[in-house]
Symmetry: C2
């Protein structure tokens, strides 16, 4: 069950320890200012097939892209506060989103395929645990709330899956 070398490696899919110290997991902003992302249990990284869990911290003012996905997503807010922007995607574009305050000890579920954005609109770090189904995540990104759904750009693999999906694809060549 144990592996001495895999935990800190970027793509430790083999020999994953059953119990892992979250503090030892790789942490990066993956090119997104103000973000700290850790994949707590992941598909590409750890071989999960049905669920994936992230621990993310957003510095004040930082945010996710405006995006949608067909998988289920649940947030559990551990620290801080912020705003969820959520648009019902029943027209040709997301449109002006509804704003929901989010706060420590709240939970949020995102309706499938609805465009949304989470932003730290507070004054301290916003820390969330994020659970998604059917990993690895396939995300469609919008530049603004009035971009047509058909123009949203598929970002796959997503930032934190990029390195390991590429490495495993290279291995197959």
């Amino acid at each position: 069950y144990f592996s001495e070398t895999s935990l800190g490696a970027p793509c430790p899919i083999n020999g994953l320890p059953i119990v892992r110290n979250i503090s030892d997991l790789p942490q990066d902003n993956y090119g997104r200012p103000g973000l700290s992302h850790m994949t707590v249990a992941g598909s590409v990284l750890h071989g999960m097939k049905e669920v994936e869990i992230w621990l993310q911290t957003f510095a004040p003012g930082s945010e996710t892209p405006i995006h949608r996905h067909s998988c289920e997503e649940v947030f559990v807010v551990l620290k801080g506060s912020g705003t969820l922007y959520l648009a019902e995607t029943h027209g040709n574009f997301p449109g002006k989103p509804i704003e929901f305050p989010i706060f420590a000890n709240s939970t949020i579920h995102i309706p499938i395929n609805d465009a949304h954005q989470v932003k730290n609109t507070g004054h301290e770090d916003l820390q969330v645990l994020v659970i998604i189904s059917r990993p690895p995540i396939k995300i469609f990104i919008y530049e603004d709330w009035f971009m047509p759904h058909t123009a949203a750009r598929l970002k796959f693999p997503y930032y934190w899956d990029e390195q390991c999906i590429q490495e495993s694809q290279k291995d197959e060549l």
Copy 2:
């Protein structure tokens, strides 16, 4: 998006608010001494189809049954410490389990179909966030580690799903 009445109800599948205060969710021991269970986002309760999330607190000495399931399961330990007992189910019965210390800020994944048990072997409350796939959960329970797999008893619906699965089944009659 809002419902004034559904949040505290036992089976609030309709009109589920997007953002919910975890402190307002129903909490019970469901007949298990030392347990506090909350379904943060659930299948039977909330209409989730692919993932389900629980917040559970185990008093010192309390534990899960010895059990297995074919869904994926990940624990994130928020507070306290304890022990994970895990048996590889490659014979006719689980057999003597391996013991893994678990602790605040650790994460644990349970290999599919392996018999396991989580116990608070520490001196303070053990609080965990539990993520499972393919809800509602179907659990096979063992009376001890040497009970044959074929004798394990299917407990479905599970304790916290019982009331609402029965109510929805009644509705269909």
